[in-house]
């Protein structure tokens, strides 16, 4: 957000939006343009909707506020499945908390508290990019609250601190003073004119070899896998068809539109895959229809889903539909966990058509 916008907001408040718009497209300013026919004046409404950035001095911070306790509730629901309940992170997702005093260590831990120089960056980033796969879905109050929670977890502010536009630009981050401007070019031991060309070294000493470390992806990689899959696909597909025929009579053909469902699945794919057995933050959904709940190979399930597994609960169409409609309610009502505890932080699909479309797509793309 710009100085311009703040100034103009005052103008708008004083003179009214209509006066402002006419000013923005005044003929005098258009005459200064070399190509006035190209592009149009951006309206205040357009700018306000897209201009979401927040600068270190707090410029651009929107109305709203939040505290750490409020933020914790949102964080547990929408962030913890990747970043961990305490910001310790799962898998290779970013660690958000801790790491103080580690920057000179062999393995420094760069977190919000130990590394980030500005509090505004937390708000700016969450607002535009989080939750991963459901960006720009949080309200400004929620973003303030999560930011306050993360600052509190890193001992930067107290838990009763009310974070808002008036103070986000004044928070001092622990590592702020430790950033310096780029001094490169550096590491220039020898000038071009002095470069040795003959008999420069008495001996060659090998310090290390990549083949000993042995972390290079296997040969062929994705291409080889794809080729192998291609080769295996045809007979496998034929078999599946033959076997699937009787099952199709039991479960009615999905009423949904698989193409539309592909778009709905975009909300799921940050955490789930359909086309392989790979678990991400959530379990693989390959072949999920008909599978016993809690049995994706190698996935660590929460208590509620393990209880459902023990009961022999299956992923029928109805159960999948109920889960995607509201994971919390599903865990409460279908599994019987009174608090609806699940790590699946997805609010749920409200429209029946979305659910039908999603199921149709999931079946087509590997779920069945």
């Amino acid at each position: 957000m710009s100085v311009w916008r703040n100034q103009m907001r005052t103008v708008v408040l004083a003179a009214g939006a209509a006066a402002f718009i006419s000013m923005a497209v005044s003929p005098a300013s258009a005459a200064d343009r070399k190509y006035p026919a190209l592009g149009a004046a951006a309206t205040p409404e357009q700018i306000q909707a897209w201009d979401i950035d927040v600068r270190p001095d707090g410029l651009g911070a929107p109305a709203g506020s939040g505290t750490a306790p409020k933020g914790e509730a949102v964080y547990i629901e929408k962030c913890a499945m990747c970043h961990g309940d305490f910001g310790e992170a799962r898998g290779r997702y970013p660690v958000l908390v801790g790491g103080h005093g580690t920057l000179k260590d062999q393995r420094p831990e760069k977190t919000i508290g130990s590394y980030w120089p500005y509090a505004s960056t937390i708000f700016d980033y969450i607002k535009r990019a989080m939750p991963f796969g459901d960006a720009q879905s949080l309200t400004n109050d929620e973003v303030y609250a999560i930011t306050a929670f993360l600052l509190n977890m890193n001992d930067v502010i107290d838990s009763d601190f009310v974070l808002d536009a008036s103070n986000i630009g004044k928070i001092e981050m622990p590592n702020a003073a430790n950033f310096i401007d780029d001094p490169r070019p550096d590491a220039q031991a020898v000038k071009v004119a002095d470069l040795c060309m003959k008999d420069c070294k008495p001996e060659i000493k090998v310090l290390g070899r990549a083949v000993i470390i042995d972390v290079t992806p296997d040969k062929g990689g994705a291409a080889a896998k794809a080729a192998a899959k291609e080769a295996a696909a045809e007979p496998a597909a034929a078999e599946t068809k033959a076997e699937a025929a009787p099952a199709a009579q039991v479960a009615a053909a999905p009423a949904g539109d698989a193409d539309a469902g592909k778009k709905v699945f975009n909300k799921c794919k940050a955490c789930h895959v359909l086309d392989s057995a790979k678990n991400k933050i959530g379990p693989s959904l390959q072949g999920v229809f008909g599978r016993t709940v809690g049995t994706a190979d190698g996935f660590k399930y929460s208590k509620a889903f393990m209880a459902a597994k023990d009961k022999g609960m299956k992923w029928t169409d109805e159960n999948v539909a109920a889960l995607v409609a509201s994971p919390k309610d599903f865990v409460k009502e279908h599994i019987g966990d009174d608090k609806g505890r699940t790590r699946m932080s997805f609010a749920g699909l409200r429209k029946q058509k979305e659910i039908d479309d999603l199921l149709a797509y999931m079946k087509q793309a590997g779920g069945q």
């Binding site: 300013s29 951006a42 950035d53 290779r92 919000i112 000493k205």
Partner: protein
Amino acid sequence: MKKAKSPVTPGNIQTKQSIGSSEPVVNSSRRRALLAGLGAAGGAAAAGLIAPARAMADPANLPPNVADWSRVLGPGVDAYPYGMPSKFEKTVVRRNVEWLTATPESSINFTPLYALDGIVTPNGLCFERHHGGAAEVIPEDYRLMINGLVDRPLIFTLDDLKRFPPVSRFHFLECAANGGMEWRGAQLNGVQFTHGMIHCVQYTGVSLRTLLEEAGVKPKAKWLLVEGGDSAGMNRTLPLDKALDDCMIAYSMNGERLRTEQGYPARLVVPGFEGNMWVKWIRRIEVGDGAYMAREETSKYTDLMPDGRSRRFTWEMDCKSVITSPCPELPCRKKGPQVIKGLAWSGRGKIARVDVTVDGGRNWHQARLEDPIMSKCLTRFYLDGWEWNGDTAYLQSRAIDETGYVQPEMAALQAVRGVNSVYHNNAIQTWRINPTGEVENVRLA
């Protein structure tokens, strides 16, 4: 054009580390089995090497016989409305290193440099780096907004952008983290993985200066926020003087429209600066009087030094080079003449000279640079006439740019920066050719 001395041969260098035959070059019995199965004479399976489709030629296709393709009709025109590489080149693809990142939507893959000639990267092989997956922007619904400290906030359609006077230029794009896994030692065995976060294409678009002049930048302005339309809303701060110098909003690469994964329908081009700033699917440029300090220029893309302080705004890509053949993916199959070729580049201008050694830096030979040599663009170099006699050899290249900057050894970089700075590793790379002909990534003292 520089002339190379030729021929050059490596001395029979004894190393402190044993390179006796008992030392397994490839520590995998599966690979040895593959070798046996292929019946190949030389070492054909360095780690990461993609095995050819077939080990030996079929005599039925060789003279005095006449191959089928010389007798029968091939596919007609339009059999492939958009042409693809030969099916025999299927293994030449971008590849990733799965353990590097949490999820492929926020990840990176690598350009197969070993398989490429010249200086232009084919569009489909340009490495990808996404922060929220590749956005599929509908071209009719694409908009670019310029707001902030300007006389006239403007919004452009894609058609508007294409109606401005176009400019076309060749530039490399290198991720600041290219080589970032190699700070502590040789780790990945393949030039695709050690140096593949780079590509070089011809961009066509409109000069960013032209667009900023249309909006009218106010005198107080010093910085731009550039922001993508992807689900990460990728944002970076760009200094205004760079924006007015040589940046552009590109809508084409190598003559065709941008690929989805490269920012279709429009991306920012910031010649010589780290790839993270080349915002794809660009939706907004805000002009301001202060830096924005986005996540990608504070938490990431800052370089941690041994004293615990971090360098920020490390935009320029230092001068660098690498030998792309031979390399772990392209072993020396036979003794005798070898093609030594490589790429050199600098974010500060043109490449002035490249030196190549085959004996680990004991003796250096000036490489032949191939035209065209352009600013902030890949330059192809060759060392002609090298005969490999079957002894262990250590290949390196050292680039020098027009500012007089000399590509450093890793020890010189580490002396200043330690091993935790992640970004901007432009150290000299060593490939060891073993007596078997296999080539591996090693770190020399």
